[in-house]
């Protein structure tokens, strides 16, 4: 199987072409303002480098930070009507209550509380009121809002009300996008609702972006299926991604860590992805990024997505090096994508980490003569400072005293001089395009998260039921059934409840079915 993995980052758009498990070619192209020009460029380059043509390619996987950046930068977001099915419960906290004000303003702060919702055990809080929903629909129409997020209390236990309300809204407002929270999130009303609303505000953008990806692929002559990667390192097909753009959040760090695991053949390690401005550090467990345990914020909004437990430090190939009275400082300011004009070795006037490394003979980049004048002592102190920063972040990421190896990937990997924190250092082949490799090898997943009453069935029966549902969900998402395995099982008893109510969360993952 021939596949292409693409990673659209803030600075570079990377592409790799893989034949089975072999990386045939990897390229970098500058990310363009319209994004698509950069994608077309990267696709052309990688096909040329691999000496093949688009018609030989079976499938394309794309990782993109486009949607995360849209929310973070508050641009290209559509107004949203947030409809919550809940009354009389939850009236104390309206939708978007804990959002940053500027983001709430961009979306218009339109919300409606309506009847509906379920109890933890599936009982009804109140019946759905069609007339009430039609009244809300009329108001939405009057305000000209084109995207609706519907959230019902305990919809992860019973999604019936969300579906019914969605149908009523779709009938009354045929030209609107409708996002149902149960399709996106897990238990935790505000976080799930936040995710649904963010998804809704990205629906216009997602149509354009997915259409443009499709156009870019058609432009190079590719006519097969293409996928986008999710935050947990698995895939969604283009049509699904268009409906659920919010699921791409944080897919970048996930892809680079999965790519690092693949390229190095190491499943348990600390991964340092050094880019132009920042380094992302996280840890790999059994080939997957370790997930964060606490709520993760995106653009200031609290979510409960499955997100990798990654932190960033301001160290990259474009970080500024400043020699001051208190010693050398490195970063967090960076020249970013302007490195090709502003760094000393490219004829600019700003001293960057890359200048230091090249002057020290650590990499062959730009014009070495332009950094030949740099003071040897300064070079040494800057390198020591960089080494200290890397050691500090690796120590923070270590989850045990075990001597785990450190895998370094990303374009800024030249900053690494030798072993970090005394741990084995792995610099895999194609390290600079590890995130595109991570996209190319992404898998397909299915997940179930629901509450079982164990008074009515055994724990084993409940787990079996949940596993079956997760596997079916993975297959429905495009996985080959014979490759699907359960990667995560978690059961949490709901404290204080008789009837042995237990929340079961199961995730199944498999290889993408191609052909």
């Amino acid at each position: 199987m021939i596949r292409i993995g693409i990673d659209v980052g803030g600075t570079n758009t990377d592409a790799v072409l893989m034949d089975g498990k072999t990386v045939m070619a990897g390229v970098k192209a500058p990310t363009s303002a319209d994004v698509m020009t950069g994608v077309v460029q990267a696709l052309r380059d990688v096909l040329a480098a691999a000496k093949t043509t688009a018609d030989k390619v079976d499938v394309v996987m794309i990782g993109t930070t486009h949607f995360t950046n849209a929310v973070v930068q508050r641009r290209d977001l559509a107004p949203v009507a947030a409809v919550r099915l809940c009354l009389p419960a939850t009236a104390s906290l309206p939708p978007m209550v804990d959002w940053p004000e500027d983001l709430r303003d961009v979306l218009g702060n339109h919300w409606y509380l309506a009847h509906g919702g379920n109890e933890f055990d599936g009982r009804v809080i109140s019946r759905l009121d069609e007339a009430e929903l039609l009244g809300i629909a009329a108001d939405i129409r009057a305000k000209g809002i084109k995207s609706i997020a519907i959230t019902s209390v305990f919809s992860p236990v019973s999604s019936e009300f969300e579906k019914q309300a969605g149908e009523i809204m779709a009938k009354a407002l045929p030209d609107t996008h409708i996002t149902l929270s149960a399709d996106i999130g897990r238990i935790g009303l505000l976080e799930r609702e936040n995710a649904a609303i963010m998804n809704a505000c990205l629906r216009d953008l997602s149509r354009h972006v997915v259409e443009a990806f499709r156009g870019a692929l058609a432009d190079v002559g590719f006519t097969g299926r293409f996928y986008l990667t999710q935050n947990d390192g698995t895939l969604m097909d283009a049509a699904f991604a268009e409906r659920f753009p919010v699921l791409t959040f944080a897919s970048g760090p996930t892809n680079s860590m999965r790519g690092a695991a693949f390229l190095s053949g190491v499943a348990d390690a600390i991964v340092v992805d050094i880019g132009g401005t920042t380094s992302d550090v996280g840890s790999l467990q059994k080939g997957f990024p370790r997930q964060a345990t606490v709520a993760v914020e995106v653009g200031g909004v609290r979510t409960n997505f499955r997100m990798p437990d990654v932190f960033s430090i301001g160290l990259g190939g474009g970080s500024l090096v400043v020699d001051g009275p208190d010693g050398v400082t490195v970063g967090p300011r960076s020249v970013g994508y302007r490195i090709v004009t502003e760094a000393l070795l490219f004829g600019g006037s700003t001293l960057t980490t890359s200048d230091i490394i090249v002057a020290d003979g650590g990499a062959d980049l730009g014009d070495r003569a332009r950094v030949a004048h740099l003071d040897k002592a300064l070079i040494r102190r800057a390198r020591d400072r960089i080494a200290f920063m890397l050691e500090d972040c690796v120590e923070r990421a270590r989850i045990s005293a075990e001597p785990l190896p450190v895998i370094v990937v990303g374009g800024g990997s030249i900053l690494v001089e030798g072993p970090i924190a005394g741990l084995e250092l792995i610099l895999p082949n194609h390290f600079a395009v590890a995130n595109a490799v991570g996209a190319a090898i992404a898998q397909v997943s299915g997940e179930v998260d629901r509450v079982y009453a164990l008074a009515e069935m055994t724990r084993d029966a409940a787990l079996d039921d949940a596993k079956r549902q997760a596997i079916d969900a993975a297959v429905a998402a495009g996985a080959r059934r014979d490759t699907v395995e359960i990667v995560d099982v978690e059961d949490v008893p709901l404290a204080y409840l008789p009837g042995n109510a237990t929340r079961v969360r199961v995730k199944a993952v498999g290889e993408l079915h191609v052909g």
Partner: protein, 368 residues
């Protein structure tokens, strides 16, 4: 601060209060995030809540005890209508034909730190700087108020829909726990409970004093330590007199249901100063006992608190999982929870550990 030593709760207090309350929750008590937001909404709409020290108010002033009852995980999904505790409190008032002078928290640990603040904001009442546990415990009877003779009835429970059930005569808090627990489940496992009023002179004698202030102090220390990139665990110990008892990585977490509670055990392999040692924590919603290499080193009613080793974030028992790196700190419970009467209700025996004899922790050094 005014002459009577009272002070107004302001919006900037709410986040540190919720952080400190989560920490005093000793692994249980539910996350106060939702309660923090609800209080904030009320304050932003102009409600005011004053915090009164225990020395305030005359002896015969009547103090209401309110709190949420249900499953913490339901609390993050079916968020309150808002007036649950308020309506329960009013029902108790109407049954007796009295008016409350102030409200007090049954448990400062976890989500119930915020419920009295919310009901007080709606009723225009102050809250008392103290509570009935100085931490979190799983059951209604586990308060200093009950241990030292408070009446269980009349009590009232209210839900989101307008149902209010009054328990007119209940023999003791154990019966109230039983009735209120079953009713709360019928109400969707999230309800507001108000218990019979207590005279202020009784509250002065029996409340764990100053725990609203204590939670705030802890929360501010955590915020300050994070802002200054200091070691949060060390700062929490310095602010409270807690002692670090173990650091390690969770290597096994077993949970099962017994009697409607989450019981379980976490195994922790030592790191740092505890390299080569093994820790073990018993759980019933809250952390009950810490053993290190087979020796019990902290036990109920003293506080056993798991903090994320890096961020200092309190780790509740529901999100405890394999691979987490934790610091286990111990904080002495208030002396009111160490008497023979208290031991009968909240001592290791009361939690099913007949082999353990309560060995109280000592306070470590406290600094600002």
């Amino acid at each position: 601060m005014s002459d009577d030593g009272s002070w107004p709760l302001v919006e900037a207090d709410l986040l540190p209060l919720s952080i400190g309350a989560a920490l005093l929750g000793t692994g249980g008590g539910g996350n106060p995030y939702v309660g923090m937001l609800r209080s904030r909404e009320l304050l932003r709409k102009g409600a005011t809540v004053r915090v009164l020290p225990l020395k305030a108010l005359p002896d015969d002033a009547l103090i209401g005890e309110v709190g949420g009852i249900g499953a913490p995980v339901v609390g993050v999904e079916k968020i309150e209508e808002g007036g649950e505790c308020y309506r329960a409190m009013r029902a108790v008032e109407e049954t007796l034909g009295i008016r409350m002078a102030a409200l007090i928290s049954a448990e400062i640990g976890g989500a119930n730190s915020m419920e009295p603040v919310i009901a007080a904001a709606m009723a225009g009442l102050p809250v008392i700087d103290g509570d009935g546990m100085g931490r979190a415990f799983p059951e209604v009877q586990m308060t200093t108020f009950f241990i030292y003779g408070a009446k269980a009835s009349p009590a009232a429970i209210a839900d989101d829909k307008g149902n209010v059930v009054v328990f007119r005569d209940v023999v003791d808090m154990y019966w109230l726990e039983r009735f209120a627990r079953d009713t709360s489940v019928a109400m969707g496992a999230a309800a507001g409970l108000a218990i019979a009023p207590m005279r202020m002179d009784f509250v002065r004698r029996t409340a764990v004093p100053g725990t609203v202030t204590q939670a705030l102090t802890i929360g501010r220390a955590v915020q300050d330590a994070r802002a200054k990139r200091q070691n949060v665990v060390e700062r929490v110990c310095a602010a409270t007199g807690a002692t670090l008892f173990f650091t390690g990585k969770i290597t096994d977490i077993r949970r099962e249901l017994k009697g409607g509670f989450a019981r379980g055990e976490a195994k922790i392999v030592g790191l740092g100063d505890w390299q080569g040692s093994e820790g073990r924590i018993a759980i019933q919603n809250e952390n009950l006992v810490l053993w290190v290499d087979g020796e019990p080193v902290i036990m109920v009613p003293d506080l056993i608190i798991n903090l994320d080793l890096e961020t200092g974030e309190p780790i509740t028992t529901e999100i405890l999982r394999y691979g987490q790196r934790v610091a286990v700190i111990g904080l002495p419970v208030h002396d009111l929870m160490k008497t023979p009467e208290a031991m009968a209700v909240v001592g290791p025996q009361a939690f099913g550990y007949p082999e353990l004899t309560f060995t109280p922790l000592a306070f470590g050094p406290v600094s600002a």
